[in-house]
């Protein structure tokens, strides 16, 4: 790659992106390389079939959902800044930084990470995971190995446990509560994106 300054010029709004997402310029560069690699036709944006070309996603039970998460509603192209913003959710959190102030706005805070995961469940964006949505996820993950009855009972039990206001669906707060013992900061972080 050329000198960092010239490469940085290739990236639109580099400084703004760095401030909003917390990535360093080295990371941004790496992500830009990856973006260009995925963008086979060099169009400057990514479409769903570019994502589908990525190897492991075809075998991933929720591969389709992940790809859809990159495309905000309606659009079918992803430019670099949206790409980076989504991936910023998976930056490891800095524990030493003080919690008030800027931390809340960064996309890799615990709440934002959980919100991202929640939106992958909640496809119709009504703010709740209904039983049907949960069933779909379970069906995707467990596939053909399980009977429909077992899936139903697992979904039933899951909603039983998590649903505190008895509305037969899991809201974001209930989702957060059921995961309070899991160390999300570690679980939803990629070391690459430090």
């Amino acid at each position: 790659m050329g000198s960092s300054s010239s490469s940085r010029n290739k990236i639109p709004n580099a400084q703004e992106l760095m401030d909003q997402t917390g990535f360093s310029s080295a990371h941004l560069l790496r992500l830009y390389d990856r973006f260009e690699c995925l963008d086979r036709d060099n169009r400057g944006y990514l479409s769903p079939d570019d994502f589908e070309a990525v190897g492991g996603l075809a075998m991933n039970p929720i591969g389709g959902r992940i790809i859809d998460a990159f495309f905000s509603s309606g659009q079918d192209t992803v430019d670099f800044s949206s790409f980076v913003r989504i991936l910023a959710h998976f930056r490891p959190t800095d524990r030493n930084r003080n919690k008030e102030g800027t931390q809340q706005e960064l996309p890799n805070s615990r709440t934002r990470k959980l919100k991202f995961a929640f939106q992958l469940y909640d496809l119709d964006r009504d703010g709740k995971i209904s039983r049907e949505e949960l069933l779909q996820v379970l069906r995707a993950m467990l596939g053909l190995q399980v009977t429909e009855e077992q899936l139903q009972s697992i979904a039933e039990r899951a909603i039983q446990e998590a649903d505190l206001d008895k509305d037969d669906a899991i809201s974001f707060d209930e989702f957060k509560k059921s995961l309070e013992k899991v160390d999300i900061d570690t679980k939803m972080s990629i070391g690459f994106l430090k």
Binding site: I66, R95, L120, I190
Partner: protein, 699 residues
Amino acid sequence: MPSRTVSHGSSGRLRGLFLVMVLVFLESSVFTLAFASSDQHSPTTAHSDGHKATDHGSHNNTGKAFPVLDLNYENVRVPFEISLWVLLASLMKLGFHLVPHLSNIVPESCLLIVVGLLVGGIIRGTGETVPPVLDSKLFFYILLPPIILDAGYFLPIRPFMENLGTILIFAVVGTLWNAFFVGGLLYGVCQIGTESSSILSRIGLLQCLLFGSIISAVDPVAVLAVFEEIHINELLHILVFGESLLNDAVTVVLYHLFEEFSGIGTVTLVKGFLGVISFFVVALGGVLVGVLYGILAAFTSRFTSHTRVIEPLFVFLYSYMAYLSAEIFHLSGIMALIACGAVMRPYVEANISHKSHTTIKYFLKMWSSVSETLIFIFLGVATVAGPHDWNWTFVTVTVILCLVARVIGVVGLTFIINKFRIVKLTTKDQFIIAYGGLRGAIAFSLGFLLEKDHFPEREIFLTAIITVIFFTVFVQGMTIKPLVELLAVKKKQEAKRSINEEIHTQFLDHLLTGIEDICGHYGHHHWKDKLNRFNKKYVKKCLIAGERSKEPQLIAFYHKMEMKQAIQLVESGGGIKLPSAMPSTVSMQNIQPRPPTKPAAERAIPQLSKTKEEEIRKILRTNLQRTRQRLRSYNRHTLVADPYEDGLSDLFLKKQKMFQIEKKVIFRMNHSGIKKAPNSRDEPVLCLHIPDNLANNQF
């Protein structure tokens, strides 16, 4: 504890009585042992004399009366002594918990060492020689394996694997650093600090390095004993404990290396290089042996469905064989044992019955508990036995150097490690890791193994080792609990995994794998995913019997939870009420005569109290696996139930009963055309799904 529920006066008396009994027993056992050890002086002649005497006696006795009561201690001496020791250890363990507040302040390991000191003191006080109980063979082949197997079988795999890099660095680099630092500086002190004629200056560099390698290894037994009582958070526990397990390979290599070098006297570069290679051989070879035996055990357990009774035996035997086989080739036996236990566990647990699982768990806990107790008592006895050679300089310098080396090592390594970790280790964590570096009986046994002719300073070494062990176990062991409180270190969360956590964790695993694929980064999740796929496709098919091999992990977890809940329900008496509860509350009389012209607002189902509803709902769910679904044919084979399980057959009977009752209710309801209360949230769940055409009709 049962005695607490009794009134204070009588519980005090009971306790006092028990303690008196223990003390009397202690005294008598000590005297028996003393008596027995005096017989050791001429065992063979006494034995043969005894035989001849009884022979002659029997001949002579043809004239005299037949001896009704005879005393023959010699035949049962060895098993009797062993049993006596074990009984003593167990009674001590019991006794500690009866004394109020003692077990809160002082960790058990300290108390046991004190008991050992007492016993040794009493034996010595009666003028007999103390038996050399901490014989290295006994320790390494009998006392140590149960503890390690218990640790390895129940090793929490996920945190272990996630922190494997950190653990390895601490175990390998940390131990090497400790060994060389302590050994090297000790040699320097011996040469410089003392006069040239004193015994210290005659200790060579290699001997010092050997001593350093013995003393530098963190001991798993001591760590387990102390850390189990302080309930520290999982990360720190697995870091210190994992380190204590994995540093065995380093210790074995260093020990043999320096022992051979000091025997021969010359060190060549080739030998040093071979030493490095032998480290990899020892470590990886040990793991390989363990994995091999683990796979064998898993494979064997596949066929045990007809002889459930000996299932636990296979687990123990294969693990012990793995340990011994590794020891044959001078490989790391501890790593073999850990690898064997960890590899075999998921497959064995899928194959064996519930009862065998409980048996294995309790046997392992029992053996490891007894072993641990015995080890600490023997440490106390061996301390009294000596022989000791106290050298102020050597001992104090050793203790100080050990502490300093540990602190510097941990801090330095953490600095490097934190660059690669996602979750950094804080200063508090580092302090606990450094403070938790306890030495124990392994160091003593290794020192005991040294031969006197090669190592004239053996006694100095042994004294120093014992002092370090005492220091770490007593001082660090006793103060770590208040320090943990003081520093507000995160404690272990007594979390019961819920089904939600399980689902979401798997979901997040898939998510992270996908994101890693998009980023093109072959990270942690990528390899874990690949391993899981390989496991599912090939390994599980071979090692798990029948249907269970295709069962996804989530389902297995779910069934485990359901089983637990069903067992709890039956134990609490809920299940027994089942057949009578159902018909009486949902009796046909209540439903049937209600005229269909009643307004839709009224519920067709009789009122139930909320708690009863919840109970019935739970019961239905656990027994029928569905509450709000269309009735379909109930497929028995989708349930992972072992037809040989007792207790489950009762559950099946109840299920059948429930099924029939439900069918009857549906039939009646369909016939009377009652409308189901539509999706009312806080209504009782006893609403069985009515076919759609009926539900749509307005009544």
